[in-house]
């Protein structure tokens, strides 16, 4: 009985540790993809930048900043319908008024 209790405690401890480490890995992967995307934007390689953004979206599909960049990139590429969806998702996951306001301006601009 005592052995089981130790085992459960250890399992619980490692699962907490594992979750924390997975979160850090996720943030690092997204950061790397964002860095690659920004370099591509600076070189005006918008299609390439968009592929990195899509990869980042596959890791975390609830980050407003990713949708914000996606919207901007799609606008630059002239894909207005997809840009509208990206800005709508940006509003959905936004955690700041500034991003919401920016997304609103873009939606009005694109849909008017």
């Amino acid at each position: 009985m005592k052995k089981w209790s130790y085992l459960i405690s250890l399992l619980l401890f490692f699962s907490i540790l594992n979750a924390a480490m997975a979160d850090e890995d996720k943030t690092e992967s997204i950061n790397n993809l964002l860095k690659k995307s920004i370099v591509a934007i600076q070189d005006q390689h918008y299609k390439e930048a968009l592929t990195f953004i899509h990869q980042a979206k596959n890791i975390d599909s609830k980050m407003a900043d990713i949708y914000r960049l996606e919207g901007q990139l799609l606008e630059m590429l002239g894909n207005i319908d997809e840009a509208i969806i990206a800005w709508q998702n940006c509003i959905k996951y936004a955690d700041s008024e500034t991003i919401i306001e920016e997304a609103e301006v873009h939606l009005n601009h694109l849909m008017d």
Binding site: S5, L10, Q72, L73, E75, Q88, E102, H106, M111
Partner: protein, 226 residues
């Protein structure tokens, strides 16, 4: 879900800032507009001129005849030089005049920037307490030599403590270029403001932000001039 977005959009659209229009004025009489030079935004040299050129482009696309006051002194100077015989080109100065003046102020003119935000994650740690209860049989004999079994309960507590920690990571953020303008159409005869609008826009490139911002500010005017 689509319905939610439609309702959200209608709400957002109703909140959007609209231009202010003089209701008594007939905009169909506006055929030629004189554009005055736009002052630069703070220390961004040339920003006013960039905006002005974009306004000229969009107004001409709308079918309006445009006179740029910025270029007028250059034309007059050229004409003066011709008269002195310094240049051979003959310039016939015949500047178009108009009753309508367009003024613009740059409210924002910022190029993109990449910022790194430090993110500190606080792992508060945890304490797990496991309580184990064991009933251990104890065998004894009574006076007659018979075995009596009774149970003694033992409780053991196991406390597992995970230490808290602070993890520092960084988040990269792209802040797009942002351009904002406030535009006015005036009646040069009496100084009446006939129309005014304000707009801002963000984009990955500064030139695109300028283009979209000027397009956005002039769009309501286009509807009126039709």
């Amino acid at each position: 879900m689509k319905r939610i977005f439609t309702i959200l959009f209608i709400f957002l659209y109703s909140c959007a800032e609209k231009p202010v229009v003089n209701p008594d004025f007939d905009f169909s009489q506006v055929k030629t507009i004189v554009i005055y030079p736009t002052p630069d935004y703070r220390s961004f040299a040339g920003s006013g001129s960039i905006i002005n050129k974009s306004i000229v482009y969009h107004l001409m696309k709308m079918g309006v005849n445009v006179v740029e006051r910025e270029t007028t002194p250059v034309l007059i100077k050229e004409a003066a030089l011709t008269q002195t015989g310094i240049t051979s080109n003959t310039i016939d100065i015949n500047l178009t005049s108009s009753d309508f003046v367009f003024l613009c102020t740059v409210t924002e003119f910022k190029d993109y920037k990449v910022i790194i935000i430090p993110v500190i994650t606080d792992h508060k740690g945890s304490t797990v307490t496991t309580v184990e209860t064991v009933d251990e049989p104890i065998v004894s004999t009574d006076k007659d030599g018979k075995e009596i079994v009774y149970y003694e309960t033992t409780t053991t507590e196991i406390i597992t403590i995970e230490k808290g920690s602070l993890t520092e990571t960084e988040r990269i953020k792209y802040v797009p270029s942002r351009v904002g303008v406030t535009a006015q159409l005036l009646n040069a005869g009496n100084g009446d403001v006939l129309w005014t609008n304000t707009y801002w826009y963000t984009s990955l490139s500064l030139s695109n932000a300028v283009n979209e911002c000027v397009y956005g500010v002039l769009k309501p005017l286009k509807k009126l001039l039709k």
